[in-house]
């Protein structure tokens, strides 16, 4: 499934992630009458004028391009919500706010295709940019604590963020794994090497949520 564009098959391209994000559901208000659409991925509709309904983003974008609906931006894409999220992100140095898994892609899709449906679009756009920058910075500082003892980081990372750091993280974790293999390093030194890590647990725990 992963990585048609990447020869090593380890990462998605950004366009592939955008494609996956198009399966997320979004609310639209149609302005025409269509019978329910029975598609392989599910049944959508019926579409009545002025009656909101849930459809995948790809369908919403297709209808929007033809001028058949208006898209209702999701709840989290309002100025108040995003301001809260941005403040929370700035306040805590190590935890991440819960945003949709595909927030980067969804916001880009809506900005591209449905600018007129997003209230205060410039504000929303710059807020999302800020949030993204803050989060990337935090990811960078978090990765400096990487070690062979890092096994599972359960963060509220989004698809795009994970994808950007994936090549580096998997590569360095592999090297750490090789270098701490029992035949390479003495058992006592492994313990020694572990100890600062366990002492370091405190801040790292915070990093996990």
């Amino acid at each position: 499934m992963s990585g048609q564009s990447d020869p090593r098959g380890s990462a998605f391209s950004a366009a592939e992630l955008e494609f996956l994000a198009e399966d997320e559901m979004i609310e639209i208000v149609p302005n025409l009458r269509i019978k329910p659409l029975s598609l392989i991925c599910g049944d959508f509709g019926p579409f009545q004028p002025q009656i909101p309904t849930q459809v995948p983003i790809w369908l919403a974008v297709a209808l929007k391009k033809r001028g058949k609906c208006t898209i209702r931006p999701p709840d989290w894409m309002s100025v108040e919500k995003l301001t809260q999220v941005l403040e929370a992100e700035r306040d805590s140095a190590s935890s991440f706010e819960a945003l949709p898994f595909h927030y980067v892609e969804i916001s880009r899709l809506l900005f591209d295709h449905a600018r007129d449906d997003v209230p205060e679009v410039y504000m929303v756009r710059s807020l999302i940019e800020d949030i993204k920058d803050v989060r990337f910075h935090k990811i960078g500082t978090g990765l400096e604590k990487l070690s062979s003892r890092t096994y599972a980081m359960k963060l509220n990372l989004s698809a795009m963020e994970v994808n950007v750091i994936r090549p580096f993280v998997t590569g360095s974790l592999e090297t750490f794994y090789e270098l701490t293999a029992p035949e390479i390093i003495q058992e006592s030194q492994r313990e020694e090497y572990r100890r600062p890590q366990t002492a370091d647990r405190g801040p790292r725990r915070e990093l996990r949520r």
Binding site: A14, A15, G140, L143, E144, F168, G171, A181, Q186, Q189
Partner: protein, 186 residues
């Protein structure tokens, strides 16, 4: 055998390591030596790792620790690991180190490798993910092959993300489509 097809593993085997012959060997000659084709016991040579390790296992030669893991390098890494020029010493510092440890059993090298990587990967991380502009070749020339690979991986994923976000054409039109057909038979 797991790494049989790994080109880096093969290249790492090519690195020269110092070795001392324990037995006299007939039918081989050292380069730049006189015309005998016989090697006396206790002669010091530099052999590629793949040859040295086979001779070591057959007790025909003994492998010494390569100079890139000596005391001087250790001290330099201890002082400021991020700015030690490891590439000029051994471009497969980590892989060769692992192999040497397994051959000789000197586990202090293992901990040296670990410490060095722990200090140095952060530098790679910061440089690769943050600085958008092209770095001077100075930094890259310090990295070993393994680190360069990590750096390139991180760099290209960040660059791909940035170019996607900046927009540009979403759908690329095949160059054939725009072309007009030439009228036939004129």
């Amino acid at each position: 055998m797991a790494k049989y097809y790994d080109i880096d593993d093969i290249l790492a085997d090519e690195e020269l390591v110092p070795a001392v012959f324990l037995e006299a060997v007939n039918g081989v000659g050292l380069l730049q030596s006189n015309e005998t084709n016989r090697i006396e016991p206790r002669s010091k040579v530099e052999l590629p790792f793949w040859l040295a390790s086979e001779l070591h296992l057959r007790q025909a030669a003994s492998v010494n620790v390569p100079p890139c893991y000596n005391k001087k390098t250790r001290e330099e890494i201890g002082a400021d690991g991020a700015h030690v020029d490891l590439r000029s010493r051994c471009s497969y510092f980590y892989q060769l180190g692992c192999k040497i440890v397994q051959l000789i059993g000197d586990k202090t090298i293992g901990s040296l490798l670990l410490v060095a990587f722990q200090i140095r990967y952060k530098e790679v991380l910061i440089k690769a993910h943050t600085s958008a502009s092209i770095l001077g070749p100075k930094f890259l020339s310090l990295l070993t092959k393994e680190e360069t690979k990590l750096y390139d991986a991180a760099k290209s994923s960040t660059a791909a993300f940035k170019s996607w976000r900046m927009g540009g054409p979403r759908f690329q039109k095949a160059s054939v489509l725009g072309r007009k057909r030439k009228p036939i038979g004129e």
